[in-house]
Symmetry: D2
Subunit: 375 residues, 4 copies
């Protein structure tokens, strides 16, 4: 039984989502061969959060990230705002810590390239929280597509809709400023969809993109009106290496259909993923009927197989988001204890490729949809 000294940077909403699952990990009795020690929390408000950190189970609170790295920790879990990711990754890499980072990897491609250069040749484990890969429907789709169950993919339509930013009264926060977020809907929601598209389909060869800012001015916390410089909505037109086409839409201003959906059309059938029914992929044949997914159709996928083992281990669910983050973290811990990552795990390489596509998409959008080859 290996002890893993876990550290965390940041204690906002997403950090808590990590923690609620982790704290109940033992209760799931999954037969894991490691134990998570809550070692050190770094937060910008160490005094204020001290008591809560103790309640959660952390041994200590660090006043900054350098102090966290100086502690006896095996890994860092980065839950800080986007503009801090690159800085903390570079420091953690220098300290040879394994790194788990919330998405996106960095603010832009330049930062992402610096990260990749820095970790190249190092043996440290790294993973990015593209947690939707761990959703049963997604992993099932991955196996079906690898096994060519719907033939050759011709087209994929991807959308991820939120509605919250429709509200013109929503004030400017770091997510609404390019210099701190790296972008808007495309970065926040689209990054997940880009990762899943690469995971499920293929690498992107070229793209065009459009973006729109529906609400052009918003109030700052101080009450002043300010121009918004990030996208509320983005649409990417993708050419995959395989010859398949795809559209990928990310919106924070779409009322009526919250959640994400994949419609993947092959020449022998179709696959749908709907975040409202995330436990089960939908499969259609040419008849055209929805058909049952059989074990044979799913066979041979190492990522799905491990996921199925973990999911069958417990009846206890803490809701989709907590469950997905916990599974992602378990895969990360296992990549540490086993010395190598499961092939389906999203690493910093995946974070980098997604960053590249986002950067090129913003370039294309700035030229009203000019087609750009991905190098």
């Amino acid at each position: 039984m290996k002890n893993i000294n876990y550290s965390l940077s940041g204690l906002g909403g997403i950090a808590k989502t990590h923690l609620v699952g982790l704290r109940n990990l033992e209760m799931l009795e999954l037969g894991l061969d490691f134990k998570v020690n809550f070692s050190t929390l770094a937060t910008t408000h160490p005094e204020e959060k001290k008591e809560l950190a103790r309640e959660i189970g952390f041994d200590q609170v660090a006043a900054n990230f350098d102090k966290l790295l100086a502690a006896d920790v095996d890994l860092v879990d980065l839950c800080t705002p986007n503009f801090i990711h690159a800085e903390e990754i570079l420091k953690a890499a220098a300290a040879n810590k394994d790194i788990y980072c919330e998405k996106p990897l960095a603010l832009n491609l330049a930062e992402a390239e610096e990260i990749m250069n820095k970790i190249e040749g190092k043996s440290l484990k790294n993973q990015i929280a593209f947690v939707y890969r761990f959703a049963p429907a997604v992993a099932q789709a991955h196996a079906l597509l690898k096994n060519k169950v719907i033939g050759e993919v011709q087209f994929a339509k991807v959308e991820y809709y939120h509605s919250r930013y429709l509200n013109p009264e929503l004030p400017i926060s770091w997510r609404l400023e390019k210099e701190s977020s790296g972008g808007g809907a495309l970065v926040d929601l689209g990054s997940h969809m880009i990762d899943l598209s690469r995971f499920l389909l293929d690498e992107v060869e070229s793209l065009s993109a459009w973006t729109k800012t529906f609400v052009e001015k918003r109030k700052t916390a101080a009450g002043n009106s300010k121009k918004v410089d990030v996208d509320d909505w983005a649409m990417l037109m993708l050419n995959f290496d395989s010859g398949a086409k795809g559209t990928l839409e990310a919106s924070r201003v779409s009322p009526g259909n919250e959640g994400f959906r994949f419609h993947i059309f092959g020449d022998r059938g179709a696959i749908q993923i709907d975040s409202d029914q995330i436990d089960k992929v939908q499969l259609f044949d040419q008849t055209p009927k929805e058909i049952e997914v059989s074990k044979e159709m799913l066979a041979g996928d190492q990522f799905l197989n491990r996921l199925l083992e973990l999911n069958s281990g417990s009846k206890l669910s803490q809701g989709m988001m907590v469950d997905l983050h916990l599974l992602s973290l378990i895969f990360f811990f296992e990549s540490i204890t086993e010395g190598k990552a499961n092939p389906g795990v999203p690493t910093f390489e995946d974070g980098y490729q997604t960053q590249k596509i986002m950067d090129y998409a913003y370039q294309s959008a700035a030229e009203d949809g000019k087609k750009i080859e991905i190098k």
Copy 2:
């Protein structure tokens, strides 16, 4: 009470859809100021169809279209295959008959231009069967958009899905040959969506397009395998004059979501049209909730107003498709009796504009999505 001498060319499925509604027009007691006489039917099998034509109520059967034009008819209703449209329109125009034509207007832009030149300056009434304009949800959306109820439109996502051509056993017919159909899914289904996009949103300034043929070879009636030269699937990326963006997808190979849908996103709300709930548009505000459509929001739309009058006149429905075709024909008859068409009616000009967009889309697709300005 004006008598309208109605003539029909063709007696296939779509012709019968026109006829079942027309034959029951009196029973609806709509208070119309015209009466439809079933004068002449032109069919390629005059002897075989003679008895049926008599049962339907036609005074006579003509062995060809020239003989039909020679009869005492006020108008022609063209329900022949696509490759015959232009020829018959040109003849009917030469004979100064009012013309109602099934979509598409012609096989290609060249034919469509010839038609427009021929009818220019003539006072003959013309209408193309883009019947979905007459669906209540569409006409309601038209009024809502004209009244800027959702602010400025930023993006529209349009899709029309059939699944029938997924079946690889479906044999080659005229709809699957470019020289007789003009194209595949884009012409068959996409033409309706292009017309509605122009009707609801704006003119198209430029576009890119992709097409795919999912089933590349099919059997002919004689049993030989033949390469398919039309699209099973088409995706258009549209830039509207207003600055709005749009994607428009037409597919005959999409299992699972038969029908068409518009999702129109404005900066103050959103509108959805779903062919499964065609009686009622869905409207969302920024809160973001679905809200009731009020009379004020719909006010001032001459097309919707006449449609509402007609729809309130009878409880008797013969199903969506028969009802839509009948409404479209009534508007055409009224354009004859009143001397001018209701502004919402789709004329040959609309057929021509749609043809132009389809032709340019096929050009773009041939160059893998090259952006083309619409002249």
Copy 3:
């Protein structure tokens, strides 16, 4: 080719629903061996309706039902209000005409018994317009249940919801007065569900019932407030001969779920019928998944077989209600031309049994749900 001289009594909404289908019967090219002549229409407003009757194709208009019977007609189609059914059936039977009657058969059990006595021993064909039997999903369910595909039925939940009478401004009409309608929601909607329950499941051995009048007073046409003496809502608790249980709800005051539904639970699976998807029954097994209905599961059902032949004969639909009424009438005409009815056809015997259950249900409801054996 037999000529059938068709006559019709009444020209309200339901009569027109019969007529729109009948008038287009030839166009469906179903290969039928009879022809329908529109002989005589009886209406209470013969002068006013003369022109419309001529347009529809009737040879003549009769000023009353006796005159209709005196004409050269083979059958009568009764589309008069409920309180006239018995009188016209008795007259038609005395004149030895075949009779097709809208539901319900009569105002009450006494009338229904008189009818059954009168036609006993006569060879005249009779049918009642329980048209939902002719819906594909219903006929499929009939075959599945006969073939015991879901084992022994344990429980069935049946509901038919309308919402229109929720509106307290809806004035009193004959449907809202017991002496002219025979009852409220139970008679109007429930009669269909009782018939389908008998058709699909078994005879009823005993029952309890509740009724409610949600809107207790309504305005008359003259503007006076009057107490409503029929039910807006009825719930029957049914014990079938087989030992199965059932609840059967009919409501004209239920917002939100218009239409009817059967949920039939057997010890080896379940069957659902939903009027929103009337073309296809839903079948569930014990796994418990929805499964495909195979041809073998449906085999051997003479009623379904004829229905499938007729439905495959044409692509032309005039909407669910017109299609169902037309199919029902075709089966009736075929019972005349063939000398005997298809076993699945609803005859006056079925109308009588339904009437009996309704009468007993009203008795039970008057005693707050007292259990009553059906004799």
Copy 4:
């Protein structure tokens, strides 16, 4: 800040559902005025569970319930199988501990009465885990109904469907034996629905009931075939004091519609609750449209108000079931710290009334639906 010494009896699935929420209570930062100490766990496998109990945070493990009561605990949380509830409640009451008990209260009415006698006059706080009261849609419905937003309730249709027991291979467990469970679907699922019916509507005046055992024999763990003596399905026909009627169905053998639903029909509108959309009640008026629930419609409900405060306190959800159990426990803890329970809290009195209805329902079912007055 009050410290609450929490103890737990049982460590099965439902116990863990309590614990995962409780362990993360601090992280929600709800501003509560109490702190939960994990004092003592009683389990039948103390040695085996010792390590896990420590991980969870319990100070100690007790080998039996008596030892638990002897420890310094303020309350007991009973998560043992049904047949142990009464025994442990009686002991805890004797020890003057506050008691939180999973449903049902007891195996039968006799046990429930003994419990009520025992706690009568004692000031100990007691609550039963009818957790669906804490679902937002339910609490909203409670306020709407109290405020007569849909007028007088005429009829309510209640159903709770599971499908798992359809599988004939599912072996006999304590839930499938009357002497250890007290009953089948009615006890397991129906008890929740009975409680909500009383909470939302009114007390039950009389009832009839049916039950069915779909799978009559099942295998024991040892592999022998054994007759099942509990119901797979139960249907109650309810007469409420108010004059409203209701049907209440509980099934563990219903494929296709997992979850529970309330359809409540009033004379001025309707309310729907659907466990698939548990955050929001659906409200319909007489027009009949779905309408927005306003703050005014919900005003004045002390239970809803406290629930809204707690729900607005955190974005962190752990899934519906964990959230509901945690809210229920918070209300229980607050009844201890505040000295009295919120009026909407389900107490043992509610457990007792539900038990009475279940017992009478089984009596009625044994006499094939005989109507029984509730005394």
